[in-house]
Symmetry: D2
Subunit: 344 residues, 4 copies
């Protein structure tokens, strides 16, 4: 069984785990206040071309989402996001458990637009019963989205402009950020992301690290007391240096992008194989997640040798499934899958 | 200006406020443990034909909703409800502020069906990622709904059957219960409501009391420790007897129904006037809330002498507005409105 | 049985309930946006000698406490208060239910000092693990306190100075404010209270109203969006004018103080009777709550004709109990009690 | 600088990190549903001599505490614990952020007794205002405690008996469990812990793993839906197998105890050196945390070469500090410290 069901089936890139082994017996202070975290912070600031960014390392994505959102909102405010957004669908109500409503906007492809945000905000503010409704207090987007799609630079700039106009902090969930930045359709750098958000995170768990997400904060109000929130939410790793060591290795010489590239190159080949076979995609994803619509027979055939995720059952009996590549996907495994698709 | 914008524009029925005046200088214990609350409880149990019901009096509807829901759910559970449900739209995230996600089901008329509930529950339970999503933990409906529509007895029985099948407590918000029970289309008694829910409340604020909602609990687990929740949510009235006095008066000899009947009779006349004039209704409401769709000109004309609520702006420029009658609406005011509609 | 167990055993002062009766059939907008609320706000601003104060009316004390605190704090902050404070002891964790820790300071008499607040704040800020502890984010005091004691003007000024120095909003719970202001030992006006707090409330429930607390906000940040919090916490009364009518009546010509005076005068007589009899007081209260320490025999004798509250069982078998007077206490009832004490 | 400030200054035992390296490129399902987690669960069940235990792996201690407590309590309940308890002092209000009050009991040495628990519970239940106070809903203890002390088997049995009598789930925080079990004063096995608690966790972060705590649940109600809580609290590790691999290695052949033993043996030597020197201990700890009371001069001398933690400043100018040994402490480093103490 070759696993394409997700992008966290293996451990870490050999250089990443090597760095952990190499530093294993060094003694450092805890809670992310060690030299490796400092080095990783400096590297990320440099990558983002902004020396004033505040960087903290958390273990996972849901944790990062709920911690940032709890820090950004007052109790009567909610987070605008796509109806498909991870915080709205797949975090067991983590945001609501901190007291805040998620305010979903309709989305066909995982993305939302500046227009939607402005319209939702104005609709709220101009309603005569506005105080009886949750106030939009921030905007959450993901890039790539849960559908594998990505934002164009102009789209992100437009969103950020609206957010600034209405004083809504913009938070970008970058759990798969590397795969977005390496997509052939991408026209942004990490510095562009930093310039056009109030806070975002660089996903490590799904991009070659054992675990870890680097939260990057530009908004001064959000920086204030942020570490209290990390601790309160159970997100402060005692051996914080484990995250610092990994992110430093990932950003010292471009390894993060190199790992991302592997996933993108192999995903492209698999997508082409599906399309050639006349198999449609549920979402037009240019990143590492592919969402082919398969017949039950096709599912049965591919399911014998390959693990994939079930996403959605269509009314006509077909199924939307997900195949993911990752930093760890082997070329030969991708080729085996492609051959299997060709013989469907 | 004659007010039809809501059903809480006046104080209380003269008999209700009279009862408060009459008992004003009596001394009683606090927190709802007085003889008037006991009398009101007994009357409500009798009305519901169930001596085991547990009855507590709260001040308002949002308070009742959030207190019951916080008492009914574990932290990972949410409340299924119509997308139009009051808890989903007009309580400033009160339920989320207690940590729970509201799980909206699509609804055109404010109602949901047994089938929808079953489908949502099974979809959750059968999803391979079910633990990553909020678990449906109860069902919230309102009768009449926010759209003025009501459930038929067979519909409520079907919903309750599904709820019992999947161990989902059923909670009925009866903020306007009297107006539902007196509707010509209604085929239920209060005893039917009690028999087919785990918990419901009898609205007083909108049906002739100064304020107050009587929460009626049948479910044994919900009864347990319920008063702790009332206190924690700031919903325990020091002078609880104010609520007992009012509900006792309302249920001693049928005053609650008499007050409700006034609203229904007058609403029917107004609805007929709109329909005769060819003015369509957004929702087919047989209760005290009417939702005519008016042109801007019609709004301007009626707005000179009558207060109404703005509900929705349609794409074609027309507006959905709301006219409410209540226990307090005077016959002559309703007639004045009808004449104004006729001359539109 | 004559009730001295609390100060909410009766309804409302006859002028207060009379005002409700008189305005009962007027039509007004809901949610506190009516002319009576406006009038009451203006009267309270005048009483406080500050035209910029923001005034909202809530139904009860726990509700007012949890709403103000939820509005004032970010999620990692807590409220410093006396260990005896109502929010720490007798609100079923209402503040914690909004996510915030109550941070108790030791207190023998219900009061805390400016020194204690400063010390607690500095201890926190200077701890090397400060981010692992809840940050003091505001200060809660009550006046009179739960022990019946009151703050002197100099004490309150000192507390407010420390609060301002460390940017800690100061919140004064005035559930029994009238009884504090009318105490012979008091040296403050309501304007002094307003000048030396960020937010406080004027208790109505215990001082002659059916129910109601007037929350008075000076702090600009707290004013912002405060009504959203009222609604979210279930504290927005549909018929808000009920509170406006009552507070307007209470402050139109000094009725609030007149009602308070009754309680104070009668309490003084009762206290003197206890002291003459050699019965010690647990707290040296100059307000309407008295805390005599009685033998079991004395309890039995007084318990036959008078209701009182049990507060604490002492190791020597004696009991601390509470006798309250109020706006409603009749002179003859107080005299009956005094005679009973004299014959102990 | 040799670090004795905490027991998480290094990475992981070489066998533990070796196991991660060895399995690094294997593909497994995510979220703890892999063969390594299954193996670790089986080993732990065996160690606890109870095949019905439910075992889940979380990343850190605060996370484990808040997740278990949120799963165990209804909204009106709180957790009884020692005033010194980690959840009361050093988790930035993590428990309160889930809505629950921590109910501290006085403690001089980090422990609480069965008598204290029973007394607190009865005091609550017998108070006439019990519904106005947070209901004790569970008991939290730690072993070893934050003071380094441990429970005797008879003490734990007595506590569990009281907990069962009053239906209070007993939760034991075992962040340093290995160091407790290897203490010369200990008379319990892990099976005894499992037999006398409803839920406990086996600390990995501080006992030789990179990170990880194994939550072991015996209580059937707590088992139900527990993984939803893990996900909601951001505590579900995508690559769950990282925790399974480490715990399996630790429990396959007794490595967990071996690692613990190192800390205990070296701590004993250091303690003896302090005591010989006439330096008193703040707490009489028989485990890996030592709390000597040092003069400022002694602090200055030791601070030159050794990192320690500051715990408390005494009124006489002396300081309580903390020296920790761990699985990683080198014998030569301990000896260097001992020599330094001898020359004080």
């Amino acid at each position: 069984m070759i696993r394409f069901e997700c992008d966290y089936a293996e451990g870490a890139h050999e250089r990443i785990i090597g760095a952990l082994v190499k530093t294993n017996f060094e003694q450092t202070p805890g809670y992310g206040e060690d030299v490796y975290c400092e080095e990783a912070r400096a590297l990320i600031r440099k990558e983002c071309k902004n020396e004033d960014l505040y960087v903290q390392f958390l273990v996972g994505g849901t944790q990062a989402n709920l911690t940032v959102i709890a820090a950004a909102l007052r109790a009567h405010e909610g987070a605008l996001c796509a109806s498909t957004g991870h915080i709205n669908v797949h975090e067991t109500g983590a945001v609501e458990a901190t007291g805040h409503k998620v305010l979903p906007l309709p989305s066909e492809d995982g993305k939302i637009t500046a227009e939607q945000i402005e319209e939702a905000y104005l609709l709220h503010i101009n309603d005569s019963s506005f105080e009886h409704m949750v106030k939009p207090g921030m905007v959450y987007i993901s890039n790539p989205t849960e559908c594998g799609t990505i934002y164009k630079k102009a789209e992100l700039e437009a969103i950020y402009k609206v957010c600034q106009k209405y004083d809504l902090p913009l938070f970008l969930d970058g759990a798969r950020l590397g795969y977005g930045l390496l997509s052939p359709e991408n026209d942004m750098t990490m510095a562009d992301i930093a310039a056009n958000t109030d806070v975002f995170y660089i996903g490590g768990t799904k991009v070659g690290l054992l675990m870890g997400e680097a939260v990057v904060i530009k908004n001064e109000l959000l920086k204030r007391d942020f570490r209290y929130f990390i601790k309160q939410k159970g997100a402060m790793l005692a051996k914080g240096r484990l995250l610092g060591v990994q992110f430093a290795e990932a950003f010292r010489d471009g390894l993060y992008y190199e790992m991302s590239e592997n996933a993108i190159a192999l995903a492209e080949g698999i997508r082409n194989a599906f399309l050639k076979k006349g198999i449609a995609m549920r979402y037009d994803s240019p990143t590492n997640q592919l969402f082919p619509i398969l017949t039950q027979e096709q599912c049965a055939v591919l399911g014998k040798d390959f693990a994939y995720s079930n996403i959605e059952a269509l009314a006509d009996g077909r199924k939307v499934v997900r195949f993911c590549t990752s930093w760890a996907t082997k070329k030969e495994d991708a080729e085996t899958l492609i051959r299997a698709i060709e013989t469907l």
